[in-house]
């Protein structure tokens, strides 16, 4: 199904709340983690959220995911618009190289900046009101290219660190069509390129055999936007702090919870610091586990005095083939975002492939 989908855009789930800000932040999660609401993110070796979890990898592994989102946008005026998007937000390759050292490389969507809005308005030109339709669009985003390393220090401690290169571009267009065709339609477009840099670190501690604690932090410097060689904007990026706890009361049952705080308010007016939480359950240690989870938190961009909120639930499963060397994960996720003057309902179908040759 992934190979059948032609648009290869490194983007995550869009949101109208990201139009006025830097965009919609991506999720550093594989399908397995998305199925648990993101709760297992700090503990999943192939999820790009943390690095220390790479220390658990025994061999070379690669994963990729894709998904289609169906989004209904409810404006305060009562109008509902149905939107659809297909994305391929994560690809990771990782494997041990020297004993306990594991290296990883891959990409994730950092910010999605794909949107297309139409406006109906009029303006006074040459003494008459001139109705027109505007279409403003942006297609693309910022990708996080991650180079990570993890070291299993001991049976109870693993450390990890990564360098993040932020890179990407958006094809932006602005078009206006006047009702009066005496005024020619106009269309302008340009390509904006983005760059930035970040570092991250994390650790995994196992205080008890069935309990695992994860702490992680990340700092991104700034996002620079360029048109050609001209820097048009430079925006501070957030620092990220988080922690997670995983409890495995039996080999076939695992519970996890994660909290993440990101200082998006550094990005300027209209941006908010966010705290996001998630809790999830994974049942089954065999080839077909069942996963459920819930998540909640805030969105970094939006109008009003407070940040828009997001809640959702997810469920999914996986299927291993070839004695566990190939895994297919599927997930169904529902989100509801609410902010001043707008709400969104999103259904996402996610599919992931993991290969362990």
């Amino acid at each position: 199904m992934l190979s059948a989908c032609p648009p290869v855009r490194l983007s995550a789930q869009d949101s109208q709340f990201g139009i006025r800000g830097l965009g919609t932040p991506g999720r550093f999660e594989t399908v397995r983690v998305r199925s648990t609401g993101g709760a297992f993110g700090p503990f999943d070796a192939l999820s790009p959220l943390t690095e220390a979890s790479l220390g658990d990898l025994q061999g070379l592994a690669a994963t990729a995911m894709g998904g289609t989102s169906y989004r209904d946008v409810d404006a305060a005026a009562g109008a509902t618009t149905s939107l659809r998007a297909t994305r391929f937000p994560v690809m990771v390759l990782a494997g041990p190289v020297f004993g306990r050292l594991v290296l990883s490389g891959g990409f994730t969507t950092y910010l999605d900046r794909t949107w297309d809005v139409t406006l109906r308005d009029s303006l006074l030109v040459r003494g008459t009101m001139l109705p027109y339709v505007d279409e403003l669009s942006s297609d693309g985003g910022v990708t996080d290219l991650r180079f990570a390393a993890a070291w299993r220090v001991s049976r109870r401690l693993a450390l990890g660190a990564a360098v993040h290169v932020l890179s990407g571009s958006t094809r932006e267009a602005a078009a206006r069509t006047f009702d009066d065709t005496t005024y020619h339609a106009l269309k302008q477009s340009d390509e904006t390129r983005y760059d930035g840099l970040g570092v991250s670190g994390s650790l995994l501690i196992d205080p008890l055999p069935e309990l695992r604690l994860s702490l992680f932090a990340r700092s991104d410097n700034r996002l620079r936007a360029r048109l050609g060689d001209v820097v048009t904007a430079q925006t501070d990026l957030p620092n990220t702090f988080g922690g997670g706890l995983r409890w495995a009361p039996s080999p076939s049952v695992r519970l996890a919870g994660t909290v993440t705080r990101r200082t998006w308010a550094d990005a300027g007016p209209g941006a908010f610091n966010t705290v996001n939480w998630s809790a999830g359950l994974e049942v089954g240690a065999g080839f077909s586990p069942l996963r459920v989870g819930v998540r909640g938190g805030q969105l970094p961009f939006g109008p009003g005095a407070t940040a828009a909120t997001e809640v959702g639930f997810a469920a999914g499963t996986g299927r291993a083939f070839a004695r566990g060397r190939a895994i297919v994960d599927g997930s169904l996720e529902h989100l509801r975002r609410t902010g001043a003057g707008l709400s969104e309902r999103v259904w996402s179908f996610l599919l992931g492939f993991t290969v362990r040759p």
């Binding site: 109208q16 998007a85 949107w115 139409t118 030109v125 206006r176 302008q188 048109l227 048009t232 904007a233």
Partner: protein
């Protein structure tokens, strides 16, 4: 099973197609950037303007106008038909020819390209003219020939009202030609009205005046447009049987070798104004200097050339004409070659008698200049059908500070891309 696979594949592919366009909830959920449209009048951007006359002469025009507007213009069409041979073969198998000794009748056909349908009792009057008329002939030269009684007078409205447009009494007819879709008027002349004059080798000089219940005008197609006046002779030849003559019943067609129109008063001499139209045709050239900010960094939405008439266009009300605005391939003044491209030509209609500010939409041209900075920003105004009618318009030039030509431009500034 196969149908299920097809349905599954269709569902997969449908899911791959993004649907991203949504109505904007502005300003809270819209991009911060806006399309900024500006409207401005560039009063001082037009300069170094002048008028040149003589591009097309009346006898080179694709149409000829006959007008009768007392106090404004009196215009008449004149033409000379081709000569007849001295003798013709009576039958196709004949090896000998018989000399022409006279005419029985002739039918003159005129193609009307434009007619004053609002005029009542529009009449055409045909006059005999000397066959020596040429491009040097003036209105005064043929005044005497037009002073006499006309050869024929035909009421167009009456003729068109007859069944099939045919007057069985006079032999005249009028109707729409199925090929050209133009009105063709055929007027029959007898042997006295269209005599065969050996000295003129059968040429006919004909003048046409138009009249009506009020001021009126009509335009005929010219030989330059391959639809000039024609004459179909019915001739008499010496049968070489004593003194008897034989009438050739089949028409003997002849075209015209010269046609033009003459009018009074003649065109006003050039002055400081900008003239467009008339016969010989006049063109006006204008050099435009677009501000670099507009030319290089904006998108032209609409551009209108504003021209203030110095005098109203004179002529029959029906003689409205179209003025074209062209750009030029290179600026060589009067001899600047026009860029004849329909997508880079803007037009407007000049109404006779109007004194309102004339607005010519020149958006195509200004966009053309903005797209290619190597193009000269030169505007040439000319009549769409040059020298086909005496009507012309005169505008104030850039030297007239209060009424100078101006360019009104509506443009969009560069959109602020690259802003969060």
């Amino acid at each position: 099973m196969r149908a299920q696979r097809v349905a599954w594949l269709a569902a997969v592919l449908a899911g791959c197609v993004d649907r991203a366009t949504a109505p904007g909830v502005c300003p809270t959920f819209c991009p911060s950037g806006r399309i900024d449209v500006v409207d401005t009048v560039l009063a001082a951007s037009i300069g170094r303007d002048s008028t040149f006359r003589g591009y097309v002469l009346p006898f080179q025009a694709v149409a000829m106008t006959a007008s009768d507007v007392p106090g404004a213009v009196d215009s008449r069409v004149v033409f000379v038909t081709q000569a007849l041979p001295a003798s013709v073969a009576l039958n196709t198998a004949d090896t000998t020819t018989s000399p022409l000794v006279g005419s029985d009748s002739a039918k003159i056909t005129l193609t009307v390209t434009r007619r004053d349908t609002s005029a009542h009792d529009q009449t055409l009057r045909l006059y005999g003219l000397p066959v020596t008329i040429d491009s040097n002939t003036t209105f005064a030269d043929v005044q005497g020939a037009f002073a006499g009684a006309p050869l024929r007078t035909v009421n167009l409205d009456s003729l068109l009202a007859k069944p099939n447009g045919v007057d069985v009494t006079t032999g005249d007819s009028a109707g729409i030609d199925t090929t050209s879709k133009q009105l063709k008027v055929t007027i029959k002349l007898d042997s006295l009205q269209a005599p065969y004059v050996v000295g003129d080798t059968g040429k006919l000089g004909i003048g046409v005046r138009v009249g009506g219940a009020g001021p009126t005008s009509i335009a005929f197609c010219s030989r330059e447009n391959a639809c000039g006046a024609t004459v179909a002779w019915y001739i008499k030849v010496d049968s070489i049987k004593g003194t008897d003559t034989t009438l050739i019943h089949k028409p003997f067609p002849r075209g015209s070798i010269f046609d033009t129109f003459l009018f009074d008063p003649p065109p006003a001499p050039p002055d400081s104004t900008l003239a467009v139209g008339g016969a010989p045709s006049a063109r006006s050239i204008m050099r435009i200097t677009l501000p670099r900010a507009i030319r290089d960094s904006s998108q032209i939405v609409r551009a209108t050339l504003l021209l203030v008439p110095a005098v109203p266009a004179r002529g029959a009300p029906v003689d409205s004409f179209v003025v074209e605005a062209h750009t030029v391939a290179a600026d060589f003044g009067a001899k600047s070659p026009l860029v004849l491209d329909a997508t880079r030509t803007d037009t407007t209609t000049i109404h006779v008698g109007a004194t309102d500010t004339l607005r010519v939409e020149v958006t195509n041209l200004v966009q053309f200049w903005a797209a290619d900075s190597t193009r000269p920003e030169v505007l040439m105004l000319r009549s769409q059908v040059e020298a086909a009618q005496p009507t012309e318009i005169r505008f104030y030039p850039s030297a007239a500070t209060l009424f100078r030509p101006a360019l009104r431009i509506t443009y969009a500034r560069r959109f602020p891309f690259g802003q969060p």
